[in-house]
């Protein structure tokens, strides 16, 4: 993962924690010129669906890359680890994800 992509992902994770204090972990999928974030939240409902939503780059806000995010519950995180759920097409497997935030980072 390019450092700039990890930086944007971590910046977004810290921002998202403000609207979701139960944010648990955030991962990034490598291999793309965009931020592919997997957000795991204790507040998320389990749907067993991994649907990516894209948000455009905002260079003026120091977010130069498009962001594509999926939201998972803790149960869905486990299903992903157990290969009973799949990441979106082209994102690879759970083992290839890079952890950029966990709730212990709450101090920022």
């Amino acid at each position: 993962v390019q450092p700039a992509i990890s930086d944007q992902a971590r910046k977004l994770a810290l921002e998202h924690r403000k609207s979701d204090p139960e944010l648990f972990e955030v991962y990034v999928a490598p291999g793309a010129d965009e931020v592919r974030m997997v957000e795991v939240s204790k507040s998320a409902y389990t749907t067993r669906e991994v649907i990516p939503f894209r948000f455009g780059a905002r260079p003026e806000s120091e977010l130069p890359f498009d962001t594509v995010m999926v939201l998972l519950s803790l149960e869905e995180l486990q299903l992903l680890r157990d290969e009973k759920l799949e990441l979106p097409e082209g994102w690879g497997e759970f083992g290839g994800l890079i952890l950029v935030y966990r709730e212990d980072d709450a101090g920022g």
Binding site: L12, E15, H16, S19, D20, E39, A44, Y45, T47, E49, I51, P52, F53, R54, F55, G56, R58, S61, L63, T67, V68, M69, V70, L71, P88, E89
Partner: protein, 211 residues
């Protein structure tokens, strides 16, 4: 009668195996005939048209649902539950229109999902600043979240908009016991006008949202 000749015994066993294979094939075919219609019912037909065509069609459908919601909202107290369901449908269609426009492969895979609106609202809540043209305040998004959560696919056995549920020794109903329906019928909360206005703004400015 026991067959003593080893060659005859082998031939008998091979015949039995052939019979077994034949019966296995028949069973396989029988199961396939039963399962094919089930598979066909859960697999939507292949998508032939492009993302713009789908996004436009979904946005138009959302516009029609919203028109019905506005009409019913005029007699809010009586029809708050129906207004809530229509708004829920509006946001589901908008979420899928957004998905069709921005993540085509995911749309093709999840176009029949009932979780898309809930997941889109969660993503929107976290990225509100990155879609300034959507015009979503955090207050409005809390109402949208409550609506999209009140779907059987998300709430599961918990309270939702479609059916009554048991709680505290009685049968509860969406129109009487679901907080989001109360808020929609409560003039002081402002939920109904804000949600109707937000949905209309999103539909009208849909193409601008991505610029």
């Amino acid at each position: 009668m026991r067959v003593a000749d080893p060659k005859a015994r082998v031939e008998d066993t091979l015949r039995e195996l052939d019979d077994l294979h034949e019966r296995q094939g028949q069973l396989h075919e029988k199961l396939r005939k039963r399962l094919d219609p089930v598979l066909a019912s859960v697999s939507p037909p292949a998508v032939q048209l492009d993302s713009d065509a789908w996004a436009d069609a979904l946005r138009d459908a959302a516009r029609r649902d919203l028109a019905a919601a506005k009409t019913l909202a005029a007699s809010m107290d009586e029809h708050a539950g129906a207004v809530a369901m229509l708004l829920q449908m509006v946001f589901e269609k908008l979420a899928k229109a957004y998905l069709a426009r921005t993540e085509w492969n995911a749309f093709v895979k999840h176009r029949r999902s009932h979780a898309a609106a809930y997941l889109f609202t969660q993503a929107l809540k976290r990225n509100r600043e990155r879609l300034p043209k959507v015009g979503a305040s955090s207050r409005v998004l809390l109402w949208v979240e409550a609506l999209t959560r009140a779907h059987p696919a998300i709430a599961k056995s918990g309270p939702h908009l479609e059916y009554p549920w048991e709680q505290g020794g009685r049968v509860c109903s969406p129109s009487r016991d679901l907080p989001i329906v109360h808020e929609l019928s409560d003039l002081q909360s402002g939920a109904a006008p804000h949600l109707l206005k937000f949905a209309a703004y999103f539909i009208d400015n849909f193409d601008e949202v991505f610029r």
